[in-house]
């Protein structure tokens, strides 16, 4: 198995090469199956790796190539498949495969079909490098690689300038975060002398390190996570990233890339656990983001934008879990979120496909008659994300709420619950406005409405089943059901040093309190859904066109004007500075010097040219003067 490990990322890379080089000459079905097939093979290999890690209770290590050896810095191109990375591999390749299959149907009419699959495969490759790497530099390679693929895929329809700008925005904001990650890596190397996970964590366990250094490292790494996982202040790229095709939004901006930040913190839980301040910061940022994004999502009218803000909000909730020290709970929520958010996005894609490209929910309505399969799966996803009991989202969200109550106190719990309430409200709003009521679109759209082909609906159904049943992965203890806390136990498997990769954190509250919290959350979710059902199925409550908004509605629809704030604070000054630099340094100084040299020589030439004026007497005086000069130099 060890020798097969490198194949897992390299198969998608080969798919990228084939599709990239020869895709234009192949028929679309071949191109699509090459792309999907490579990911399927990676998934099967990941399952095999998972079984082996499960059997041997030890991580698999695979060193491919000694990459760099400078001074005391030795970095290899190597893979580490332990409990955490094996689980992430399953998610990435599994959901990746489903989305590849879905794309074969969704992108069927697009000219850039093979290019799309090439980019998707490249993304899978980079994401696998990120989660499988055995040192921080491999993580960084993957980190940058997924950023690049995000850029390529957001701007996939590159002829549209707005999409290109959105792609730029995503990449640039990611880069800001990456600076933090790089600085964190430098500090890690400076403190521990190595970038290998095993070496760092072993060193950490044996030698105490100064808390200030640990806090700095954690905060710097968290800055990287903020950029990649769209937290405050670097979240505005994610809603704009909806410019890319819907499968991209599902794969990258819901299930995998944005969870890279969570993965990073979970991987470094050993560092974070030692710094109380860093965990505080993580929790605060996560909570603020969760509430803010949920509030904005309440008044968005584009299907994908609602889901985008929902993603930001859910990611915030995951960071709250990490901040409370509940690393396993955060990973559980990553898993269930991947299921139902990918489902919701793909379902939205199905709707958009049926509506012929329309994305504004004010122009939809009553679609459940026309798109039954899409409706049922979307309903499943909505119930899951709202935390309706028995579905997967219920269990994962509840675990997080329990941890906030335990470690943070009632106020934290109340805020998290408020965020969950808002989640249920905006998701209900989305569901009912889209699928209930009467159709509000145009006549041609009504004619065009049809259910999506099987290549799109089958992945939807699979994801719906996972969203419903996913809660079984990590049932809480107090319910006394088996298997309980399976995922948490799995993640606590040992690494090379015999320690838990992601340690389990127990909740120290009475079972009765737990039942009560669970009950409150369920009631809140159901009431919210019922409320939205009653409100939004009535035609007069359909959201007004943009010009008629006022007050809070306007502010929320305007996303709290954060983009405009960033524009004034950062973009305009940078542009002005750039213009100033251009004028002074480039035009005035550098061009001035270069042209000045030329002009100087011209002037010099013009001056010396006047010496040769044809005047004989002038020449004669020159001769005598020269002769005198020679004499002087000779005699003096």
């Amino acid at each position: 198995m060890q020798t097969l490990i490198p194949l897992i990322p390299f198969l998608p890379l080969i798919g990228f090469a084939v599709n990239g080089l020869f895709g234009g000459r192949m028929p679309k079905s071949v191109s699509g199956w090459i792309g999907s097939g490579s990911v399927l093979l990676s998934f099967l290999l990941s399952v095999m790796a998972f079984m082996e890690v499960s059997a041997t209770h030890a991580p698999i290590r695979s060193e491919v190539y000694p990459f760099m050896s400078v001074g005391s810095l030795h970095i290899g191109f190597g893979f580490l498949v332990d409990a955490l990375s094996a689980w992430m591999m399953l998610i990435v390749t599994g959901i990746g495969f489903l989305i590849h299959v879905y794309s074969m149907g969704y992108m069927h009419d697009d000219d850039g079909f093979s290019r799309f699959f090439a980019y998707l495969n490249l993304f899978i490759f980079s994401m696998l490098l990120l989660v499988m790497g055995d040192n921080f530099l491999m993580l960084f390679f993957g980190w940058e690689g997924v950023g690049l693929c995000s850029y390529l895929l957001i701007g996939f329809w590159y002829t549209n300038r707005d999409y290109n700008l959105a792609a730029n925005k995503a990449f640039i904001m990611n880069r800001i975060g990456d600076l933090g990650l790089l600085l964190g890596m430098f500090l890690i190397f400076h403190t521990f002398g190595s970038l290998q996970y095993e070496t760092v964590f072993k060193h950490l366990a044996e030698n105490p390190v100064e808390t200030g250094v640990i806090t700095s490292i954690c905060l710097l790494l968290f800055i990287g996570a903020i950029g990649k996982s769209a937290q405050i202040p670097l979240y505005t790229w994610l809603p704009d990233a909806m410019a890319g095709p819907t499968p991209v939004s599902a794969l990258i901006h819901a299930a995998t890339m944005v969870t890279a930040g969570i993965y990073l913190v979970a991987r470094c839980n050993g560092l974070f656990s030692l710094s109380h301040e860093a965990l505080q910061v993580v929790a605060v940022v996560g909570m603020a983001t969760s509430v803010l994004a949920a509030l904005i999502g309440l008044r968005q009218n584009d299907i994908k934008k609602v889901l985008a803000y929902s993603t930001v909000s859910q990611l915030g909730l995951m960071f709250v879990a990490l901040g409370m020290g509940a690393y396993a709970s955060a990973m559980f929520h990553v898993t269930t979120h991947a299921f139902f958010k990918a489902l919701l996005f793909l379902g939205a894609g199905s709707v958009i496909h049926a509506m012929g490209g329309e994305q504004d929910i004010r122009n939809m309505g009553g679609l459940r008659k026309h798109l039954p399969v899409t409706f049922w799966v979307f309903l499943a996803g909505t119930l899951a994300i709202s935390g309706v009991p028995v579905l997967s989202g219920f269990f994962s969200k509840d675990e997080i709420l329990a941890h906030t109550f335990d470690h943070g106190g009632p106020i934290w719990w109340a805020l998290a619950s408020f965020s969950s309430l808002l989640t249920a409200v905006y998701m209900g709003r989305l569901l009912f406005l889209t699928f209930y009521g009467s159709f509000r679109g145009t006549h041609e759209q009504a004619h065009h409405l049809h259910e999506s082909p099987a290549t799109m609906t089958i992945p939807l159904i699979i994801l719906a089943i996972l969203s419903i049943a996913g809660g079984l992965l990590n049932l809480p203890h107090f319910m006394h059901l088996e298997p309980s806390q399976w995922l948490a136990h799995w993640l606590a498997g040992s690494d090379a040093n015999g320690q838990a990769v992601v340690p389990m954190t127990e909740v120290h509250i009475l079972p009765s309190t737990e039942w009560m919290l669970m009950g409150v959350a369920s009631v809140v979710a159901i009431v919210a859904l019922a409320y939205t059902y009653m409100v939004y199925t009535k035609p007069q409550n359909v959201p007004a066109p943009d010009e008629q908004l006022s007050g809070w509605g306007k502010i929320l629809a305007g996303k709290f004007y954060v983009d405009e704030l960033y524009d004034t604070l950062f973009v305009r000054p940078t542009e002005a500075f750039s213009k100033t630099l251009h004028y002074y340094v480039d035009v005035w100084a550098i061009d001035g010097v270069v042209e000045g040299v030329g002009k100087g020589f011209q002037t010099l030439g013009a001056t010396f040219r006047r010496l040769q004026n044809g005047n004989i007497e002038y020449y004669l005086i020159g001769m005598v003067a020269g002769g005198i000069g020679l004499l002087l130099t000779y005699f003096l």
Binding site: R609, Q612, N613, G614, N615, I616, E617, L620, I621, V624
Partner: protein
């Protein structure tokens, strides 16, 4: 020893010849008539001749006077050819003014 060698120090000859040479230079620079310019050149050559002859006498070396001999040869040849050129210029420009010969410029 010759009386001149006894009574006149060589420095006087140097000063005299240098003065004659300087007057020749002055003439070359100041006059516009080509013929007069050529004559001033002859004057310069003669100043040099005189000095060479003086040194030859004072050092009792014949080489100085041989040198004078050859300088005279060259001066004569140069005067002949120079005047020939001057006549040709006169035929072309109808004047001996050297300031009219200004075509060799940028």
């Amino acid at each position: 020893m010759l009386p001149i060698v006894q009574s006149v120090p060589i420095d006087y000859f140097v000063y005299l010849c240098t003065a004659l040479f300087a007057i020749g230079v002055f003439g070359v620079l100041i006059r516009r008539n080509a013929i007069v310019v050529l004559m001033c050149v002859e004057l310069m050559l003669n100043a040099v001749n005189l000095l060479l002859a003086a040194f030859s006498t004072y050092l009792s070396d014949a080489q100085g006077q041989i040198m004078v001999f050859f300088i005279m040869v060259v001066a004569a040849a140069e005067a002949a050819v120079g005047l020939g050129i001057l006549v040709m210029i006169y035929r072309n420009t109808k004047s001996t003014d050297i300031s009219l010969l200004d075509n060799l410029k940028w």
